[in-house]
Amino acid sequence: MPTETFTEERHALTIESKTIGGDAIEGKSIRANIPSGDLADKWQNFKDHAGLVSPANRKKLRVIVVGTGLAGASLAATLGEMGYQVLSFCFQDSPRRAHSVAAQGGVNACKNYKNDGDSIYRMFYDTIKGGDFRAREANVYRLAECSRLLIDQAVAQGVPFAREYSGYLNNRSFGGVQVSRTFYARGQTGQQLLLGAYQALMRQVNAGTVKLYAQHEMLDLVTIDGKAAGIIARNLLTGEIERHAAHVVVLATGGYGKIYYLSTLAMGCNASAIWRAHKKGAFMASTSWIQFHPTSLPQLGEHQSKLTLMSESLRNDGRIWVPKKQNDSRAPNDIPENERDYYLERRYPSFGNLAPRDISSRAAKERIDAGYGVGPQKNAVYLDFSHAIKAQGKKKIAEKYGNLFDMYRKITGIDAYEEPMMISPSAHFTMGGLWVDYDLMTTIPGLFAAGEANFADHGANRLGANSLLQACVDGYFIAPYTIANYLSNKIKTELPSASHQAFNEAEANVKAQLDMFVKIRGDKTAETFHKELGRLLYDYCGLSRNRDGLKTAIKKIRDLKDEFYARLMIPEEAITLNIELEKAGRVADYFEIGELMCYDALTREESCGAHFREEYQTPDGEAMRNDDDFRFISAWEWNNGQAPILHKESLEFESVKLAERSYK
């Protein structure tokens, strides 16, 4: 494979200073290193010709994997099994707690066990269409192709997927598709898949191939001669700064939806690892493509710290509605059938309540903004199970969703068997992330990105149950091959020295930043700033965006950032367990990434998937894509804090015809 030539080419990128949307600068076009051959043969072609590393040489090569979610744990375990030296990092106190654990609904695979017409091609097409034709064909095809292997792997590990009485695996359907290809383990699919990967990882820890660094946060990427050489990490228990060198660094650090503060992500989720790599030269792609999940619980109070997700699978049996009358203050059960607006069924008759996430979320926002919202803050819509309970019986519904109904009652105190749930869109999943080529390598040679941390596979909108899949497939089946390919001509390369000047500088910079945070001694907490930034982004770069709003947001974010550096308060010193310092570093990065999100949204003058620009919509409020001018991936280069540089990866569609994405 011509990996190296591509690498050289990447470094030849030059900047033309042409100013585009806002003051962003137009760069050059970039290519993704896609293997030749028919779509269906590309991955096999890659594997047939990829470089290999012999077992004897693997133990001389060291790989750092940051992240122990599905992507990181599966990759670290697999590389360990192959015999590489692996260092595995996570910020939680145990790898088993990575946020993959929270995924409820399921994982897709085109096994066609239901004999309902599923195939690799159909899954590929659904994903490409679901992503509004803004993903790479070759990557998506590979995702569908490897999906079958994942189910085999997970079952072998003991993942207790739902079964038929006969003992065969069961499936259900998920939003945006018409076949049943979702495998699930009650409402805890992510947990069970992650435990499988975690156990495989711990087996390698026991075998001595993987060394675990829990409660460590990566704070910088170190590069030597333009190649990844290691990381700087902070031991969160002691505050000490550590250097770790490796031949390859993989970032599997998850999504950054927590930038909105209120989101379905865990409190510790962050963008710092990918952002700091970005500042060292890795391009960020599609930064503003963020999925808002339509069925999360609404914000109920001012101190709320997160929005809990109710699995999308609920939409299989629940019907979504709002009152036909504005500001209707009647209790839901007092509103008669003919005064309810089942707006998804009305607007999208063929998909109805199973319309894809971006469309469902936007339709909810449209109703809420128009004054039809329900609940104490008028910021929700109803998800009603009364029809399903009447048709199937309470027992059947309890069997399918019992734990979700329980969770709903715990949080709200409301019994959803008796009264409809209140739901609302919430920041959830980042389609954007580090730009990677077909090999999952970033623009920095030797730096790979896997799972939600990369931008690949989902286009402008991710289909439900496709991201557990992507994280697993990246880690178990793709990166182990592509990393071997990269390493195959480096078996004689010495491990970079952790006392190299590049490590000295990176460590000094990290320490200086931490000291600077501590010395501000202002009067506002990092969390207060995070909440303010989140509100700004919800308003200006959330479910819908417009030119003026985005420009305003860029300015407001800069002002807020200035205030942060003047008024931040951290009560303790840097070299100790210091939770406020951890948050400060993450929020500091969020300001910068938030700004890039606005640039990304501003320069994309079309609506596609989750990215909805108010200026580009049809008369009935549907997204208006512009394939002539925007059939590309935006890949951003850091420009030392100046207006960022936009490089473009053109998307070529050879196997599908670009079509209007209609779910009507």
Binding site: S74, T78, Q92, D93, S94, P95, R96, R97, V101, A102, K111, L149, D152, A154, V155, A156, Q157, G158, P160, F161, R163, Y165, S166, G167, Y168, L169, A185, Q188, Q192, L195, Q199, A200, M202, R203, N206, A214, L237, A266, M267, G301, E302, H303, Q304, S305, K306, L309, M407, K410, I411, G413, P480, D523, T525, E527, T528, M569, P571, L577, I579, E580
Partner: protein
Amino acid sequence: MKLRLKIWRQDSATAQGMFKTYTLDNLEKGMSFLEMLDVLNQQLVTKGERPVVFDHDCREGICGTCGMMINGRAHGPIGGITTCQLHLRSFNDGDELTIEPFRAKAFPVIKDLKIDRSAFDRIIASGGYISASTGSAPEANSILIPHDVAESAFDSAACIGCGACVATCKNGSAALFTSAKISHLAKLPQGRAEARARVVKMVEQMDKEGFGHCTNTEACEAECPMGVSVLNIAQMNWEYNKALLLGA
């Protein structure tokens, strides 16, 4: 709503800890318990004081990170939930709450309410897996698992590794946690091959970590947020005795 909080403060693993009392006013019933601690911490930090360190992450009852003793009960007064799922509507205006870390010999306190549960990871590392390396798996439907068996394995696999069972047990035993993993894997056909070796290694590791012995008081099941059953302990004992008799 107003609450008085008596919170365990301890500067470091080696420092002497003590209770400190804080009063919080204007709380809302709909707030979660951890959001109340957030409010307290915001106030402390704004004043330049050290915030209360506590374990948490997902805040939806699944990562198993959170956990503290609230008025003497693991995860607070309501059964079947984690600390992050506890809401202030479970308390009355004016209540005093005593908040302490999970305590056990094998779970040393790190700072305030934060504890070290890495012993759990080491128990899993000792044998809590099926050795199925990537690439070796057969076609998924070639392993038939009857519905009820899969559901029962799931019940055991549901453990989130929070440690409430250990903190509740007067012996500080990790029997419920360890047995849940042993049973999960032993119930499945693909887990049987290693069942004997697994149970021996995991029980050995559990003892090595300094967890106490199980004397069947069953307090663990009552406080487990995931409803993991003590029948798992019975299965662990059965598997263990079988392994001793037949050889691991």
